[in-house]
């Protein structure tokens, strides 16, 4: 079983490591560090990560499947729901929680301030007008 786990770990790492060993050290954004992206505010997080799938106008997109719109979407009423999805992922959407592991994707994870910032940004832009805010402490409280 242990060997089995090692093997799966490798398959995961092995596939990515060749592309990431050197790669981990520099980034398109000079404020990134090796352990975490250095996005300054919620807008930056949205524009550098979220809009890849949810699109620059936050309207989502549809092909063989769909990326949900973040505008006019009733689920946005709950900032905590959004935090849960960003922290833990949902279906194909990856988890952005910082676990402290040294996995190849650890440097793509967001800290709690960035998660709170991007939620507050989305809930007050793109036609959304939610008055309540979520704090980094509240996001931190949702870690398992």
């Amino acid at each position: 079983m242990k060997i089995h786990r090692l093997l799966t770990t490798f398959l995961y790492l092995g596939l990515l490591s060749h592309a990431t060993t050197l790669h981990a050290q520099s980034s398109d954004n000079t404020t990134h560090t090796q352990s975490s992206p250095g996005f300054a505010d919620g807008k930056a997080v949205f524009e550098h990560i979220c809009q890849g799938c949810h699109m620059p106008d936050a309207k989502g997109a549809t092909g063989a499947g769909s990326y949900p719109a973040l505008t006019g979407n009733p689920r946005l009423v709950s900032a905590a729901y959004m935090a849960a999805v960003i922290l833990h992922g949902r279906r194909d959407m990856p988890s952005f929680i910082q676990t402290g592991d040294s996995g190849p994707l650890e440097n793509s994870r967001l800290n709690d301030t960035q998660i709170a910032d991007v939620i507050n940004y989305v809930r007050t832009h793109f036609g959304n007008h939610y008055a309540d805010r979520i704090t980094a402490q509240e996001v931190a409280g949702m870690h398992p």
Binding site: R5, L7, F10, L16, A19, S26
Partner: protein, 535 residues
Amino acid sequence: MQDDGRMFSMKRRDLLRMIGMSAGAAAMYQAMSSLGLAAESSFKGSPTLQGAPGNTSVLILGAGIAGMVAAYELRQAGYKVQVLEYNQRAGGRNWSLRGGDRFTELGGFSQHCQFDDGCYLNPGPWRLPYHHHGILSYCKKLGVQLEPFVQVNHNAYVHSASAFGGKPQRYRTINTDYRGHVAELLAKSTQQGKLDETVSKEDQEKLLESLRDWGALDKNFAYSSGIASSNRRGFDKDPGGGLSARPVPSTPIALDELLGSRLWSALSAGEIYEFQTSLFQPVGGMGRIGEAFGRALDGVIRYGAKVTAIQQDAHGVSVSYEDAGKHGSTHKAHADWCICTIPLSILSQIPMNVSAPMAAAISAVPYAASVKVGLQFKRRFWEEDEHIYGGITYTDLPIATIGYPSSGFHSSGKGVLLGAYIWGLNAFEFTAMTPAQRIQKALEYGSQIHPQYHREFETGVAVGWHRSPFTMGCFGLWSDDTRAKHYDNLCQIDGRIALAGEHASYLPAWQEGAVTSALDVIERIHRRAVAEARA
């Protein structure tokens, strides 16, 4: 006996863990290979499915490699086969973008590829390891011609923006210097008696001899400037003929500078089992495999079909689908069995009555981000100016990789480089850009390695896999935990539905995973169908 076996496996585990910690995944993989743990592809030849019950139908969802392998074999065995495919072409992620092709990604960003004849970008898979017997066997069956894919090129670069003033270094010099210094250190330790407790005197002699050979050491077991080291790392002036014949040896990089550069971390990629020589590529682009499958399955595949629901009962499976791009146009397909190869990123959104464990498995797998950029240049300057024929440059810039074409060597025409092949955070960021911005960034970064970019660039294409309408991501990203909880549930036949694809394999992202998962599933479906016909 049993105890002995357990002892051995304990030690073997410890050894692997030790190697894994000290030397990283590549070394661990090598070690596993030598211990027989990193198995070859499970492919043992395509199955011969005997005695298919007459009039039994199988509906296959997805005309990627998995779906088309299943369709090809099941049809041959006598099943009635129909395939539904979202795209207007066969292949799925097996795909080449060539001049004249159009690609519209999610969000409506459209590209019209302007590459010259013979030039292409493989947005998905681009190399075939020699031991991926399954996919190679279908190349043979379908008449897809192969040529060598160059992975390791000693004259390509390893590069770090923060080492050697950002000047790219030849793989050859870093590799030779790293080995030379390590060999010298170990030789010194041996000569100073520091290995006396672990290595016998007799073996120390052999060790020294091997270190001289392995590290290109001189007669004093030193790694120094001279013919021995220059024969590996290259000369300042190559040997020639006539009066200008005398070679000028080069000078090795000092150990501290070499270690500090961290460029040694780019040396082992080509030693990973899947990247070991020989590798192959289809002549004309990886997409040739999917195209050949599409021709072989002419009339079987319905293109432009977007699956909207999958429903089974005790007798069969009904699939609802729309014409892609025409919301509301409903069609139905029906069969006794269904093999679904739709990526989990999409399947997790499609209503389907399968058991709770399979449904949970389908929803448990996030998809990896990856981006590739193809850049066409007016001339093959990497060959003409820098003598790089195929192979890969690795860099710590966000582009991560520059891949040189493994065909058309020495031709005077244009050429297309793989200008970026990105994973992780930078893949998210490049996906979030427009295609034009991705190309611009690939040019900016790549020109730090090849300044010729500025003058020679003509046109490019860029694919961010999360913007791909037919996959919404690059490949299923399993973790140890999700595999333990969900993998077997994902691969079970659930009533009359079974899944196949790279996501249903232990070879994530590899076409071989798609092939072997398809062959595994058709054998199981066949057994069920035969048993049912007898009952």
